[in-house]
């Protein structure tokens, strides 16, 4: 299967979907949109006379891709400023390509842009309903010693036209997942998309595996990781925008994937730390953002609270899991001691009863282990996932603040330039005056862009938060139902054991 060559997308600060000549706006004044047919750099003028601000931000139901035209020049010096502070040089925020969809999809792709509401688009996915299932399986140790790694099989089953096949697998290693997250984070985080975090690195866990320690804890580690990677991929593809990202598609489909380099920097915790550090730096710059939008204020507080609550819940469950494991160990030990007691008895009926007691206890021990695993894999992992997700959500809110700050900075700069220009009016320096006028023109564009960016990210965040909250409820419900089912099963098994033991106990004489 040949990989589609994907050139590095042009640097942009916004994510814009542009259609092949399709007019997205009712206004006839819409300038010819940049042609997205190829992925090469597109020339965008700063003076495009696309529809002005008002029509962009009417209400949330508007097509996300309505604002396609006003763009900052690629060479704008300020944008370099925007790009370079915050994330380290290892990750340069790049806007996703304008025509993410075009290379591969046929006519169904058109449907996406004629829908007036983003929600409809989410449901229909350009004609496809959301039908994709990813599983991560068959962890396989490749290599020996400290250079060894685990390879996982990633299997995708789907009927969506987004993909070349319906059922396919690839082999991936952990750093590949981190690499994917790194790319997605650098493309989408700063414009307000909640990018699901990848599972954490674990030096202790991996070292055991590398060294070849085949015990319960390292098996558990591999299983935990496998499960976490699976959840990570499913969360990522559930996001309607991320699903269509070429890096995601490449990850799922390509047999060979270029090795992700510098995964130190790319670990999702690392990225989030950077994002949050940037946010802190921004805060320290005394951002007293005039939050005109009560929604944001409330939501921000809500997520702060949620963060604290989830961490408490997570700690609670971890303690529960710990005790369950302890119970399993203790039950096994008791079973042994009961067996020894039974063996040293002369009286046959007593001896037999005690031996059976030992057996019952051993079976119960197994049940406890299974229950502990249920607690562990279901709740503990879910809560852990959500603690990390909340970090991503908070990061996105902070990006918005940063965006606001940029806008304000541009405005202040513009103000200064205007004052300077006014002064220059009275001097006889026509070339300096012209330069000043040019700079002002540029800055005006920048200010407009800044405001648009801010409005855009606010809108995106609203949508993302809504999606997040819906998903959260679904996620929790599903896990809880699974857990309850396992709980009921355990009880019924217990009942069977007790019912079998009772006549034995009664028969002792």
């Amino acid at each position: 299967m040949a990989d589609t060559a994907r050139d590095p997308p042009p640097d942009r600060t916004d994510f814009h979907e542009v259609e092949d000549g399709e007019d997205l706006f009712p206004e006839p004044s819409a300038a010819p949109e940049s042609q997205p047919a190829s992925l090469s750099a597109v020339d965008i003028s700063t003076n495009s006379n696309g529809p002005k601000e008002d029509s962009f931000f009417d209400d949330d139901n508007e097509d996300l891709f309505a604002e396609a035209t006003e763009e900052v020049s690629l060479d704008s010096p300020e944008r370099d400023v925007l790009l370079s502070d915050g994330p380290s040089p290892a990750i340069t925020p790049i806007t996703p390509p304008t025509s993410v969809i075009t290379p591969r999809i046929g006519h169904q792709h058109d449907d996406m842009f004629t829908h007036s509401s983003f929600d409809e688009m989410e449901e229909e996915e350009g004609g496809d309903s959301f039908d994709i299932n990813i599983s991560v399986s068959d962890p396989e140790k490749i290599g020996d010693g400290m250079n060894a790694y685990m390879a996982y099989k990633v299997t995708t089953k789907t009927s969506m036209s987004l993909f070349k096949q319906r059922d396919f697998s690839v082999k991936r290693r952990f750093s590949d997942f981190l690499g994917l997250h790194g790319k997605l984070a650098s493309k989408y985080l700063h414009i307000g998309y909640i990018v699901p975090p990848a599972p954490e690195k674990s030096i202790v866990g991996m070292t055991k595996v590398k060294v070849g320690k085949e015990d319960q804890s390292s098996n558990e580690f591999v299983e935990k990781r496998r499960s976490a990677l699976e959840r990570y991929l499913m969360r990522t593809v559930k996001h309607p925008i991320l699903l269509k990202d070429p890096d995601v598609l490449q990850f799922l489909e390509s047999t060979e994937l270029p090795r992700a380099v510098n995964t130190q920097a790319l670990s999702s915790a690392g990225i989030l730390r950077m994002v949050n550090k940037a946010a802190d730096a921004v805060n320290k710059m005394t951002i007293k953002m005039n939050e005109s939008d009560a929604w944001f204020e409330e939501k921000q507080q809500h997520f702060e609270n949620l963060d604290v609550q989830l961490k408490k819940l997570h700690a609670s469950v971890e303690s529960l899991v710990c005790h369950r494991k302890e119970l399993s160990v203790n039950t096994a030990q008791f079973a042994k001691s009961a067996a020894m007691l039974g063996n040293s008895e002369d009286h046959t009926a007593l001896s037999r009863a005690l031996s059976q007691l030992a057996e019952v206890e051993e079976k119960i021990d197994q049940l406890h282990q299974d229950q502990a695993n249920a607690d562990l894999y279901l709740f503990s992992e879910l809560l852990g996932d959500y603690v990390r997700l909340i970090s991503a959500v908070k990061g996105v809110f902070d990006q918005r603040m940063k965006t606001w700050q940029k806008w304000q900075d541009s405005q202040m700069l513009l103000q200064k330039k205007r004052e300077a220009e006014a002064k220059l009016q009275f001097t006889n320096k026509p070339d300096k005056l012209q330069q000043a006028k040019d700079e002002i023109k540029e800055l005006e564009g920048k200010v407009q862009q800044g405001e648009r960016d801010f409005e855009q990210i606010s809108k995106t965040i609203r949508r993302e938060v809504s999606r997040f909250e819906k998903e959260r409820v679904k996620d929790f419900k599903m896990i809880i139902v699974k857990y309850l089912e396992s709980l009921v099963q355990t009880q019924q098994q217990l009942i069977k054991y007790w019912e079998a033991f009772l006549p034995e106990a009664k028969a002792i004489s």
């Binding site: 949620l306 609550q309 001691s337 007691l341 009921v488 009772l502 106990a505 002792i508």
Partner: protein
């Protein structure tokens, strides 16, 4: 006021099997136990309050029956160790199952002790028992001359005797067997205690989780917020149920098998003490025989008397001991059967209730979606 107790035999005026230790009162320092027993005459009950000192008084009187032939061959019903409110970790470990809960297991153990004494053909005849059960006033907080009866708790030199080779195959076998059994029984109790304590820890942890979930419940108009709050509230209920179920499992463990294993172990220890007493008597007898052989003619008849007395006592002890051993081995089977059956029945009940409740929760959750 101390009751004058002569060692004359008496008949208990209450039904032994009706003796109940109903509660432990903790006003003031020593725990006080309320003991109720039904009068044989059918005219009502005796209610008395006793402290641990009173129980020790009774025990000492039982030990001190020197005129009863072969008394040292009796396997004395074991009295639990002294309880302490706010006990140290060491004492709690000693108490084991008996230290759990609000002294209910301990009361049960005291009750068993009294019932066993009342059921013992020799011991029930001791007047001290009647006084203990029926006298309004406490039998005597004055210390009775402490009879060093439980020799195992003594100096190291005495303990060396425990390994002394026996002359009788039946007893040698029983001693060896008892030693092994005592060790295993103690281990079984300790391990089962660990199980019960861990079950309690799990229950507490479930309670914490349920409480933490309650904190996530918020009011609001936001439909998503409401949906999530509902999920958290329901899950909190689930974990509350899990907590209750776990507590029930732990309590069942403690009250049935826990107490049963504990009693069995303490009886093995009691038998060990009896066997040790007998062994000491054997050593004494062997020494007396040697003394006769070695004695100078003047002392010879005196030594002979001593030897004859020792032989007599030893014979009595062996006779009683054999009966006691046979009786214990029979009763043990019944005791273990009873505690295993009760344990199984109670756990089965709890499991059924648990399955019902969890199933209800499951259906409720599915209906929510």
């Amino acid at each position: 006021m101390m009751e004058e107790v002569n060692e004359a035999t008496s008949v208990l005026s209450v039904y032994g099997h009706t003796i109940k230790v109903t509660e432990a009162l903790q006003d003031g320092d020593p725990l006080t136990f309320i003991i109720v027993s039904q009068k044989l005459s059918g005219t009502g009950e005796y209610h008395v309050d006793r402290t641990y000192d009173d129980f020790e008084w009774l025990q000492q009187h039982l030990y001190a029956q020197e005129d009863v032939p072969g008394i040292q061959g009796v396997i004395f019903p074991p009295l639990p160790v002294r309880p302490q409110a706010n006990a140290s970790a060491k004492v709690m470990k000693q108490l084991g199952f008996l230290g759990l809960g609000e002294w209910q297991p301990y009361c049960k153990a005291l009750e068993t002790f009294l019932r066993q004494v009342a059921a013992h053909c020799i011991l029930s005849k001791n007047k001290a028992m009647e006084v203990f059960l029926t006298s309004i006033d406490p039998p005597g907080r004055q210390k009775v001359k402490r009879n060093i009866f439980n020799r195992l708790s003594q100096a190291v030199e005495e303990l060396r005797k425990e390994g002394h080779k026996d002359v009788d195959e039946f007893f040698q076998t029983e001693r060896d067997h008892n030693l092994v059994l005592t060790g295993h029984a103690r281990t079984a109790v300790e391990k089962f205690l660990d199980v019960a304590l861990t079950e309690q820890k799990i229950a507490v942890a479930c309670g914490h989780f349920a409480a933490a979930l309650q904190i996530c419940v918020e009011n609001g108009d936001d439909p998503e917020k409401r949906a999530f709050s509902r999920v958290c509230a329901k899950l909190s209920e689930v974990f509350d149920s899990i907590k209750k179920n776990m507590m029930s499992v732990a309590v069942n463990d403690m009250n049935t098998l826990g107490l049963g294993l504990d009693l069995d172990w303490r009886y093995q220890e009691a038998e060990r003490e009896m066997l040790f007493r007998r062994t000491c008597k054997l050593v004494e007898l062997e020494n007396a025989r040697k003394n006769v052989e070695r004695a100078k003619p003047a002392k010879k008849s005196a030594m002979e008397e001593v030897k004859k007395a020792a032989e007599g006592e030893f014979e009595q002890i062996c006779k009683v001991a054999k009966q006691e051993i046979v009786k214990l081995n029979q009763e043990r089977v019944g005791m273990v059967q009873k505690s295993l059956t009760q344990w199984c029945e109670q756990q089965l009940q709890t499991a059924r209730e648990g399955a019902d409740i969890f199933n209800q929760h499951l259906q409720a959750f599915k209906a929510m979606a």
